[in-house]
């Protein structure tokens, strides 16, 4: 295995992490011996076959699940419970049906300090921020709608806004563009890249789309079939900002091909 060099300065550091789900008497080894380091400000993408443990990996990094073995370190501290300062967009948009879309997006500000303290006082300011964010993903004017009045793709975009609003240091994105059409998706790649270049948060993106992974990430990790292992690490040495034109350049296409080959081996 070509393990990623885990620098001492790594913000997120997974050391031989594995996870077994136990439901009743049944055991599922979802993730096996994952070792990887993510530097501060790095954008990584994780690709792999369905059910290989990508969502599980996300939950391990954020401390939502305790590893069965191995250790997870974030900011030099061992993770024992949910860590703070994370923006998380789950695979299925978990918006609250009793809140309007705007109030859903404001949720992190009601919980995360220092916004929590100022929430009442700065409410209108925050609401404007939410509306601006909504507009940037093409949902301007939808703040007053309820999530169940939105389409699946619109819900996913709102979900993304909720992960971004409190400007977290670490972003966990679990197939955030999964339910979107190709055009909107490519548009959001651009928005995501712009946001990342402005704020330089550390991001983990799970995706099925290899072009998306190469477009957005500094490093792409390929996982094997269940139980998931890291079988390949690919640094993407393409200068930013990357554009849709970039995705047609030979070097970009070559990288996508290389990744695809490796994943095909998994399906063989």
């Amino acid at each position: 295995m070509t393990a990623a060099p885990a620098p001492d300065s790594a913000l997120v550091d997974l050391r031989h992490v594995s996870l077994t789900y136990r439901v009743g008497g049944e055991e599922t080894l979802a993730l096996a011996d994952a070792t990887l380091g993510i530097a501060k400000g790095e954008f990584i993408a994780v690709v792999g076959p369905s059910g290989c443990g990508k969502s599980t990996l996300m939950k391990l990094v954020t401390g939502l699940l305790p590893p069965s073995s191995g250790e997870v370190w974030v900011r030099g501290q061992k993770v024992t419970g949910p860590i703070k300062g994370v923006g998380m967009a789950f695979q299925n948009a978990t918006l609250m049906p009793w809140r309007t879309t705007r109030d859903n997006i404001l949720l992190p500000l009601e919980i995360v300090e220092p916004h929590k303290r100022q929430f009442r006082r700065k409410r209108t300011e925050y609401a404007e921020r939410a509306d601006r964010l909504l507009a940037s993903v093409g949902l301007g004017g939808f703040g007053d709608r309820y999530p169940w009045q939105l389409s699946g793709g619109m819900q996913q975009r709102s979900n993304l806004c909720r992960a971004l609003i409190h400007e977290p240091e670490i972003m966990m994105l679990d197939e955030p563009f999964g339910a979107l059409d190709a055009f909107t998706r490519e548009e959001l790649w651009g928005i995501m890249q712009k946001l990342w270049m402005e704020r330089r948060f550390t991001a983990v993106l799970v995706t099925h789309d290899l072009r998306e992974a190469v477009y957005l990430a500094d490093t792409v990790y390929v996982m094997s079939r269940r139980p998931g292992r890291m079988v390949m690490v690919k640094r993407i040495d393409i200068a930013r900002p990357r554009t849709l034109e970039t995705t047609f350049e030979p070097h970009f296409v070559d990288i996508v091909h290389e990744l695809r080959e490796r994943i095909h081996q998994e399906h063989a």
């Binding site: 939502l64 703070k84 919980i111």
Partner: protein, 267 residues
């Protein structure tokens, strides 16, 4: 059928059905009591009075009926309100904590299995006759469905929803107030419709066993005098109050938890 007539018909249906039932009842009583048929059948008024006779009694004795209705209504409503407050608190506690759940749930079930008629005499020893045992009986009988529903609402929170809050660093209290309580609200309001009718049963039982006022007492004393029309008038009064309170609860439910119906039921 056009949409307009269909809507009118849908609103008219419950009234038509009620009227139909009363007419059939009236006809059966009238036909069976025709003197020529007396060898075949007869329904004496003391067994089943005609609806028109019942309405006559209602008009004749409306002052006492109204007074006793209000008595039953306020004891029921008070017991019901206490049940909502208590049920909400206990339901939240049970739903939020596995320890409280495993400790109290069997006890609650055991308590719910006790016929409430059995506790009224005990209550009377403790607090005497009158309004207090009626309030308490209405409370204990309507308490259980509220607790169970609120606890169910909390226990069935989607794990993903909880994870969203946990990953933001929310405390347990925050998870409870931001997800738990809103999530439990539709369950609470759904249970209120059941609970209010149960509360009526509770207060009337108590008035029947040991009251000196209220519809239950009225029915019992009328029954003792073989005054069947008055007993039935009491029954009608309870039914009407039950339906009205149910409708009130249903209205509150619709208002408070529009999201749970995804807007569909809001017409």
């Amino acid at each position: 059928m056009t949409a307009g007539t269909e809507r009118v018909l849908r609103i008219a249906m419950p009234w038509l059905a009620t009227a139909g039932l009363l007419i059939i009842w009236e006809l059966v009583c009238v036909v069976c009591n025709i003197p020529a048929l007396s060898s075949v059948c007869s329904i004496p008024e003391i067994i089943l009075p005609r609806p028109t006779r019942i309405f006559e009694v209602i008009l004749l004795r409306w002052d006492i009926l109204l007074e006793f209705c209000l008595q039953t209504l306020w004891t029921t409503a008070l017991g019901f309100l206490i049940a909502i407050a208590g049920g909400l608190v206990l339901g939240l506690a049970i739903g939020a904590s596995p320890f409280v759940y495993s400790g109290l749930y069997p006890l609650l079930i055991a308590f719910n299995a006790i016929p409430k008629v059995a506790i009224v005499p005990i209550l009377m020893i403790w607090v005497g006759v009158g309004a207090t045992p009626a309030i308490i009986t209405a409370f204990v009988i309507s308490f259980f469905p509220i607790v169970v529903n609120v606890a169910t609402g909390l226990a069935t929170i989607e794990p993903e929803m909880r994870d969203v809050l946990r990953s933001l660093g929310a405390t347990r209290t925050e998870i409870l107030t931001k997800v738990g309580i809103p999530r439990a609200m539709p369950y609470l309001f759904a249970s209120l419709k059941v609970a209010i009718t149960l509360a009526f049963i509770g207060s009337v039982i108590s008035e029947t066993v040991g009251g000196n006022r209220g519809i239950g007492f009225l029915m019992l004393s009328a029954g003792a005098r073989n005054d069947a029309p008055t007993t039935f008038a009491g029954l009608f009064a309870i039914a009407v109050m039950g339906v009205l309170m149910y409708a009130l609860c249903a209205l509150v439910e619709k208002r408070m938890t529009r999201w749970a119906f995804r807007g569909e039921l809001v017409t």
